[in-house]
């Protein structure tokens, strides 16, 4: 909300300057976006009077002007404009000076010195509507006989300070200068007064010109119409134009300017209809019919749905309630009679309509946040006052006012002790009363109870908590003490999930991995890139783009993109991981199942087994469960170098080398190993509590065993079988050699293991050791067709 400081001062006797006021208002809850100094980009531009014009000796289109700028000597300036004349008053940029488009220095034009520039309206950022005469093609000729040498900003009212306030959704009343001035008065302890309402009514009667029928009283609780006859469309006086311009709105003509001025002043959006365009003289406020159409003021055809509120006449829509008027009932140069509208529409409905049409206006923005029915009337009275004051037309007598709302002011009673208990303060009731009165909540005291009458414009105040906030913000948040009643008697707790994830992340960090964070969104393209169908997914209705229209079910595509980015930037030997959620829709449930997942990537010299080692260690750290690998069938992984990872019977993840085709799709210049684990399943088994086991008292016996098996038998699978077959005496099975070649025969390989055995009771005798080895060999022979290698 742009609030010109001068305009605030019209209603509040503020003593602080603009910046001090802004600081004070911030501390009472009026956030300030920025403070703008207008006219700062215009410097050393003054009023000049052209005393003499001579032709340039060497250029037909140039003239030399001698100008009185209030200095001892006349200023010589060469101009190319042909609308200048001796005796004209014009804006002169004296070199060196500054204009919005850039600096002006002295120079020579075709050999004749020029000590500045004569300015057009455009060069001062002015249009004809801002200042009559500014739109002329050529130098701006100033009206009257202004003082020569006067700063042009002063003459044309181009300077001033504007405070841009952040207005909270709870304070729609502050989307107005009056609301802002009330806050300014409260912050600066200044007197406040409302602008005057005073106008004469003429014999024509509004009710004879227009009637109002509210057919949707749930969406429109007050509608006031007032007519003005004998309208003379023309420019507004300068003071109105300056106020509007400072507040960021372009002046148009007196009637439109009045509606805009009143909206800015009171926060109540107004509309003006050309009365002759209201067919049948009746205004009907009703819901649209589905598919109903109308052209709005911006010359666009709009199609409405049944929940949108329209302003109609006997034959059809003439405006979209609270959003924008219709093109056909617009005020034109020919308008003779105007009907002003000041109404209260329900905020939720206007918000919906504005969003539905994709049309946001100053009006819809205010209605969407809420207006109050008391201001609805005040705004109309202000508009008519301005019509009268500006001589823009004759105010007809009476208004048509349809009211469907109780205007009784709310009264809230609060115990002062309760407010102090909420705030942790000790403010006397009397003092609270003063603070509340300062923010226009008329407050009496009965006993220890504050009796607060809430003005209509403070619809946000509903209960004791709100009153406490009003007291607190005027008392000053700084003055509320700081207490430490919340001494912790115990340390807070975090979930097992988080504790385990900490362990995993710390381990990976220590192993040299870098943690990544990527967005949770994905799109059909990502699945196509890994050669997968789009799974059933959580879909976003209003995504930022098609590529971010789904919630992801896998972290892999993003990780591959990150790998590619790093490889292409020559970041070598990078190891990466991310912990994030996948989102899986659940039948019959409104919310998806969110699964925490871990994705890992290793580039450079690392291979499948480096990754497998990392995964095995993660298991050891979190659950103590050993993993088992089965060949995977993932389109994005190398078919021979990839595995599904199982913990018991549960598949907990997948890992492998990225498929060469996938590398191409992701533009990965080098290979990488990836693993993705479901942390929910991975953590499902709790890690057993550590219990001490006595160190072995007796020595171990170690025997080697070499067997020949089919080449596709998993050497790792054999190990698990050997451990099981050997029984409890087997302490450790280690693989130390694998080879294939002529010696072992085609389609075969030789694998050799060292088997360590131990008994807790005694040193194992040779016969015992041999028996264990025999059992192991027998199972290998039976299950895998293994042959002992001699």
């Amino acid at each position: 909300m742009l609030a010109p400081y001068r305009w605030i001062c019209d209603y509040a006797d503020v003593k602080s300057d603009a910046r001090t006021l802004a600081d004070k208002m911030v501390m009472t809850g009026n956030g300030v976006e920025e403070i703008v100094e207008l006219g700062e980009n215009i410097r050393n531009v003054v009023v000049g009077r052209i005393e003499k014009i001579t032709k340039h000796p060497d250029a037909d289109k140039l003239q030399i002007c001698m100008i009185d700028v209030g200095d001892e000597e006349l200023l010589q300036i060469v101009t190319g404009a042909d609308n200048v004349f001796e005796g004209a008053y014009i804006p002169v940029a004296k070199a060196p000076s500054m204009l919005p488009a850039g600096p002006i220095k002295k120079g020579k034009l075709r050999g004749v010195e020029s000590f500045g520039m004569l300015c057009s309206g455009e060069e001062l950022n002015l249009k004809e509507e801002d200042y009559p005469g500014a739109g002329v093609n050529g130098i701006m000729i100033l009206a009257g006989e202004p003082q020569v040498g006067m700063d042009i900003r002063e003459l044309l009212n181009l300077s001033g300070t504007v405070i841009d306030f952040e207005v909270g959704a709870n304070r729609p009343d502050c989307l107005s200068i009056i609301g802002t001035a009330r806050e300014a008065a409260a912050a600066d302890q200044a007197a406040f007064r409302l602008p005057e309402v005073k106008y004469g009514e003429h014999e024509a009667k509004t009710e004879e010109m227009v009637s109002v029928d509210i057919q949707a009283p749930d969406l429109c609780t007050r509608y006031i119409a007032a007519a003005v006859t004998d309208v003379k469309i023309g420019p507004s006086p300068e003071w109105i134009r300056v106020r509007l311009r400072e507040a960021g709105i372009r002046p148009i003509n007196n009637i439109v300017d009045i509606t805009n001025f009143v909206m800015l002043e009171t926060g109540q959006p107004m509309h003006a209809f050309d009365a002759s365009k209201i067919r049948g003289g009746e205004i009907i406020v009703r819901r649209a019919e589905n598919g109903e159409k109308m052209k709005t003021l911006d010359d666009k055809e709009r199609t409405f749905t049944e929940n949108m509120l329209l302003i109609c006449d006997k034959e059809g829509p003439i405006g979209v309630a609270g959003v924008m008027g219709g093109l056909d009932s617009e005020i034109t140069e020919q308008t003779k009679t105007v009907v002003f509208e000041s109404a209260k529409f329900m905020y939720g409905n206007i918000r919906q309509t504005s969003r539905g049409l994709g049309l946001a206006t100053e009006s819809s923005m205010r209605f969407s946040k809420g207006v109050d029915a008391v201001t609805t009337l005040f705004a109309m009275q202000r508009a008519l006052t301005l019509v009268d004051e500006l001589g823009a037309g004759k105010v007809a007598s009476g208004m048509v006012d349809v009211l469907n709302e109780d205007l009784q002011q709310k009264v809230i009673k609060v115990n002062a002790a309760r407010i102090n208990a909420k705030l942790g303060t000790d403010i006397p009731a009397k003092e609270m009363q003063q603070y509340l009165n300062r923010v226009f909540i008329q407050t009496g005291i009965i006993g220890d109870e504050l009796v607060c009458t809430i003005p209509a414009f403070r619809g946000d105040i509903c209960g004791a908590a709100d009153i406490a906030e009003e007291v607190a913000r005027i008392y000053g948040y700084d003055n509320i003490p700081e207490t430490d009643a919340l001494i912790a008697l115990r340390r807070g707790r975090m979930s097992d999930f988080e504790a385990k994830t900490d362990i995993v992340k710390d381990y990976l960090k220590d192993m040299g991995f870098l943690e990544c964070v990527t967005y949770s969104f994905t799109g059909p393209q990502d699945y196509a890139k890994i050669g997968a169908d789009v799974p059933e997914s959580v879909k976003i209705i209003n995504p930022l783009g098609d590529d971010s229209s789904l919630m992801r079910t896998t972290l892999v595509p993003h990780m591959l993109s990150v790998v590619a980015l790093n490889q292409n930037r020559k970041n070598e030997n990078v190891q990466l991981f991310e912990v994030s959620r996948g989102y899986f829709p659940q039948d019959g449930q409104p919310l998806p199942h969110e699964v925490p997942m871990l994705v890992l990537a290793q580039t450079g010299s690392k291979d499948f087994f480096d990754m497998k080692g990392v995964v095995e260690n993660i298991m050891a750290l979190t659950s103590g469960v050993e993993i088992r690998c089965q060949r995977a069938n993932e389109s994005w992984l190398h078919p021979g170098v990839s595995a599904d990872i199982f913990a018991g019977e549960e598949k907990i993840g997948v890992m492998g080398s990225v498929h060469p085709d996938t590398m191409k799709v992701f533009d990965m210049p080098e290979r990488a190993v990836i693993a993705q684990l479901d942390l929910e399943k991975l953590y499902a088994v709790a890690k057993p509590e550590t219990k001490f086991k006595a160190l072995p008292k007796f020595p171990a016996a170690t025997r080697d065993l070499a067997v020949i098996v089919d080449a596709d038998v998993g050497a790792g699978d054999l190990m698990a079988v050997m451990r099981e077959a050997g029984g409890k005496r087997v302490e450790k099975v280690e693989l130390f050699d694998v080879f294939s070649g002529e010696q072992v025969g085609a389609g075969k390989k030789s694998v050799a293991y060292a088997i360590t055995m131990r008994s807790p009771e005694a040193t194992m005798r040779d016969e015992e050791v041999d028996a264990v080895m025999k059992k192991i060999l027998k199972v290998l022979e039976k299950d895998f067709g293994a042959q002992l290698r001699q």
Partner: protein
Amino acid sequence: MECEQIVAKAQGEIASAQSSAQLDGIRVKYLGKKGEITMLMKQMGTLPGEERPAFGQAVNAARKAVEESLARALEEITKKESAEKLAAERIDITLPGKKQELGALHPLTQVYREVRDIFLSMGFDITEGPEVELDEYNFELLNIPKNHPARDMQDTFYVSEDVVLRTHTSPVQVRTMLSQKPPIRMVCPGRVFRTDDVDATHSPVFMQMEGLVVGKNIRFSDLKGTINTFIRNFYGEHVKTKFRPGFFPFTEPSAEVDVTCTVCGGKGCGACKGAGMIEVLGCGLVNPVVLENCGLDSNEYSGFAFGMGIDRLANTKYGITDIRLLYENDARFLRQFV
């Protein structure tokens, strides 16, 4: 006398020996089984009886003299040889150490853990909740009905009429109040989503941490004490805070908290737009409407809530000016946070 000559000769050789091996040779030459002094002793049998004692003494004295000389020389030479060996083993200690390259946790994780630890020490439990959330929990129970103007404060991704991507972690507070009796003291971290296009200061996904305390007689002054304790722990004792009135539909009274700018220390700079303070946190007393919505009697209980962006804390802590770096995952960026 022969003995004296041998000793002199032996000592001469000892003096010119260069290594322990040479000394050993000398020892063998004079004192070995067939050494010259040993041989002298063997001559004793050929001498007349009365000469023998004197001769014996003389030879023994000679042996002792040579032995002592050898021992002294050996000690010196050993020392010298040891010194030479150590000198030969001298290394260039400025060569780099051999190591496993360190990894790094993401700056958001590091800042989150720091914040988490402070709140854990203050007795706050860590609670998580779903990221795809019911509109009811994300908005309605938090005093933001459908089409309420406050909805414009948070541009929302919708999954359906009733399901949204959570715009803040406040729904976790709602879930906690609905399922747990006071006293409640919790913080809820996690990803949140807003329909912001990506630029240097906006990201459609970011990380938030909110907190909630509900109990009996919880006051605004307790909120101030808690927040100030947190900020002093996180930013340091020297940092000043400023509580300004603010607006959130779920708290009343509400406050925004500024802290001394971490870049300029309060003098005013580009990062703080000259204000010397930066906004880091929003908070307030839980709106009684929210307590009632969550089934708590607002006459019996009161509480406060607060929320902050972990991204923002990270940016202010590390001086990161472009939020996109946090989500790009360039190893050269990530390695800076080892």
